[in-house]
């Protein structure tokens, strides 16, 4: 049930492979040539960056041409001996049942100098005599180890497919999985993968499996995940700095903006400065930093940024006076940011209700959602009759009522509205 989507949705025919049309054309031409006679180059060497469909192409090719695919990859030993055992298979073009064979040596980069000693040389020997088409795959065909081998191979380069193609593929997968995905979300995943289709599909699965809807908000978190490694280092430099200068310098290393860095510090300071007096000092520094941020906003004068940065870095670092050093303490993602993003949908819905209130009340939708809605909720919890009256007066729909109160009470109110 939880099959990897990279397997579940891998191309079933060459037509489904995205991008690399020219490379595929060359490959097909070369395989077809075997039907007439053994071509000059008995092996084809496909190379290119990871995750763009080299192996998937060969597998689809075997299917399209109804060939038996015999595969060796990095997990197998590739010593001279192991490769030589292949010679027997390679010496016959077709199987006992008349099916043609295609031999694939995948992940050639994985051949290590010592363990697979002689592997490349043995492989070269097989190529010279093989009676079946032989496909080699590696990320880098120009590795010096392959210098001699290359002479016997037709070299075909695989390139990263354009992001637009990747988006189309992700769309197809979503369609099959029954997921309604925002175009922006898929674009974000595709762009972030930089042409690595496999990682794009893996990300999609991680984010969308089990959902019926995938929004941009759901995926934008990925960007933060990438940056976490970096942010931990920066936080450590700030919170444990011994001098003001080293704390201040950490800002330049951070690849998040200062406001976001502030959130990280604000979230994590209490766990790292545990002595009450240190904590009070550190939080006071953050409070002052926030004041400078307020001054930046009210005066629109960016020169105050330097004081904002001083307090949030050096100010926090210098707060450490009594906290005893302890073991490794993890850094947490800023909850405030998480909550803001999560509650965004909720706030939007509350504003929707606020708009309904606004039509009857002389108050803005925003303030209605903050000032009137809480009382409406209390009434809805208590009094079905009054609630039904108010609900129809405000023209609230069933979804809104269910948002305001849960379960049975909501249903009772809706029922009562029908009676009225």
């Amino acid at each position: 049930m939880h099959m990897a989507w990279t397997r579940k949705h891998k191309p079933q025919t060459l037509k489904e492979v995205i991008g690399n049309k020219e490379a595929i054309r060359k490959l097909v031409e070369w395989v077809k040539a075997w039907d007439k006679t053994v071509p000059k180059k008995r092996a084809i060497f496909l190379y290119g960056p990871p995750g763009i469909g080299k192996t998937a192409t060969v597998e689809a090719l075997a299917k399209d041409f109804d060939m038996e695919l015999v595969e060796k990859n990095a997990s197998d030993y590739r010593t001279e001996e192991a490769v030589k055992r292949f010679a027997g298979i390679a010496s016959q073009y077709s199987t006992l049942f008349g099916k043609k064979r295609l031999i694939l040596f995948d992940e050639l980069d994985g051949i290590t100098g010592t363990q697979d000693r002689g592997g490349v040389k043995a492989l070269t020997e097989i190529i010279k005599i093989t009676r079946c088409p032989l496909v080699l795959i590696a990320n880098n065909a120009y590795d010096p180890r392959f210098t001699n081998l290359r002479n016997y191979c037709l070299l075909v380069q695989f390139k990263k497919p354009p992001a637009g193609e990747v988006v189309k593929l992700l769309k197809r997968i979503c369609l099959r999985e029954g997921i309604d995905a925002e175009e922006e979300a898929l674009k974000f995943i595709a762009q972030r993968s930089r042409g690595d289709v496999r990682s794009a599909i893996n990300d999609l699965q991680a984010l969308a499996q089990g959902k019926t809807r995938l929004t941009y908000e759901d995926v934008s978190w990925l960007a933060y995940r990438d940056r976490q490694e970096n942010i931990f280092t920066v936080l450590k430099m700030i919170v444990y700095a011994r001098s003001c200068m080293s704390a201040k310098q950490a800002v330049d290393m951070a690849d998040v903006d200062p406001d976001m860095l502030f959130e990280w510090i604000y979230e994590n300071v209490p766990r790292h400065l545990t002595h009450p007096e240190d904590l009070a000092r550190a939080m006071d520094a953050l409070s002052l930093a926030d004041i400078y941020r307020g001054r930046i906003r009210s005066t629109r004068n960016w020169k105050f940024t330097r004081y904002f940065l001083d307090f949030m870095t050096a100010g926090v670092a210098m707060a450490r006076q009594k906290t005893k050093p302890s073991g490794w303490i993890p850094f947490n993602f800023p909850k405030r940011i998480q909550a803001l993003s999560r509650s965004k949908a909720q706030r939007k819905f509350e504003l929707e209700i606020g708009r309904k209130i606004k039509r009857k009340f002389h108050i803005s939708a925003y303030r209605a959602s903050k000032e009137i809605l809480p009382y409406i909720r209390v009434i809805f919890e208590n009094n079905v009759n009054m609630a039904a009256g108010i609900a129809s007066w405000l023209d609230l729909d069933a979804e809104m009522i269910k948002y305001i109160v849960s379960g049975k009470q909501a249903e009772a109110i809706i029922k009562q509205m029908e009676i009225l």
Binding site: Y266, P270, R271, P276, E277, L279, A280, A282, M283, D284, L286, S287, D290, I291, R293, G294, R295, R297, K335, R336, A339, L340, S343, K358, K360, F361, H362, I363, S364, A365, Y366, R367, S369, K370, E371, I372, P374, Y375, I376, R377, V378, I379, E381, N382, N383, N385, M386, A387, A388, G389, I390, S392, W393, L394, L420
Partner: protein, 323 residues
């Protein structure tokens, strides 16, 4: 019992019905008599009748069809410069047909307008004075730019005094056929402090229990509508658990939308109620006052209030050291 929100149902319809803000009402009535209204700013805290006064003025001035001669815009929802350029201008420049030669534009929550939009508004106000008069409604007139202020007659609304507050709520209770006990009334005034919208909403929510309204019911309504358990948060901090106290703070701010100033006011009240050495109370009042000041200057309420919680954690620690 009726099925509307009472705060709207019992909103006065004419200037005569307004029970409070006597001097303001008198002046507004004189505008109606002379059939001339200047640009106005109605400033004051929420629930003191600013919007009501503006609507009543329009109704008294134009009669039944007042809606044809006035427009009500809420700057919190539509506060950009485009709204001023398009909606306001289109409305303002077309002359009104009828006895009164101008229309009225009510800009509610005008202190939420961007300063760009206010600048644009300033010119519109000048240019179309003949055809349109503006009533700007704001909690803080200080947030309205100076040039607009100088073009408007200022009116300052204040919280309702207790007698008028009580009278109004009793009238509603009577007309809705509910029993409002004196202690319930006291409690509403204590909690809402003369903000009539809040008071009436509290009254209605309390009435939804279907019992005579006691102080206990009122507190329960307030507790459920604004579950800001400030006392628990303060004690958690004083006991040294900053992270948990901050969680509670976040819940209040993010989940229930409680304003920072409300939270700090309650913390201040709480400090004098709880059981800590007396000298500490005044020491902490100073800290609270400082953070209260920073709330206005800073950009993020949660950060400022967290700094206060950290101070409470520190105070709790130092109290223990002393004993």
């Amino acid at each position: 019992m009726s099925f509307e929100m009472w705060a709207e149902k019992y909103r006065p319809k004419t200037l005569d019905e307004i029970v409070n803000q006597k001097e303001i009402v008198e002046r507004l009535k004189s505008f109606v008599e002379s059939r001339n209204v200047p640009h106005c700013i109605f400033a004051g805290p929420p629930g003191t009748g600013k919007t009501t006064a503006a609507l009543c003025l329009a109704r008294d001035l134009y009669g039944k069809a007042y809606r044809e001669h006035m427009m009500e815009l809420n700057a919190s929802d539509e506060r950009g410069i485009d709204v001023v350029r398009e909606t306001v201008k289109t409305f303002a420049r077309v002359r009104s047909i009828g006895e009164v030669p101008f229309k009225i534009m009510i800009l509610d929550e005008a202190d939420n307008m961007t300063s760009d939009a206010q600048q644009a508004l300033r010119r519109t106000m000048e240019r179309y004075t003949e055809t349109c008069r503006f009533i700007l409604i704001a909690n803080y007139s200080g947030k309205i730019i100076e040039p607009i202020q100088s073009r408007c007659a200022p009116f300052r609304f204040t919280y309702l005094p207790k007698t008028e507050h009580d009278e109004f709520l009793r009238r509603i209770a009577k007309s809705e056929g509910i029993t409002l006990l004196d202690e319930g009334l006291e409690a509403i005034f204590e909690v809402c402090g003369g903000d009539m919208r809040r008071a009436i909403n509290t009254l209605q929510a309390a009435a939804s229990f279907g019992k005579p309204i006691t102080a206990e019911i009122v507190y329960s309504v307030v507790g459920r509508a604004h579950p800001a358990d400030v006392q628990k948060m303060v004690l958690t901090a004083l006991n040294g658990n900053f992270i948990q106290a901050r969680e509670k703070l976040r819940e209040m701010i993010q989940k229930y939308g409680v304003a920072g100033t409300d939270i700090i006011r309650q913390i201040h009240t709480e400090i004098f109620r709880i059981n800590i050495p007396e000298p500490w109370k005044i020491k902490l009042a100073d800290t609270i006052g400082e953070i209260d000041f920073r709330l206005v200057q800073g950009s993020n309420e949660e950060v400022q209030l967290s700094a206060l919680l950290a101070r409470l954690v520190e105070a709790g620690y130092q109290m223990k050291q002393q004993t």
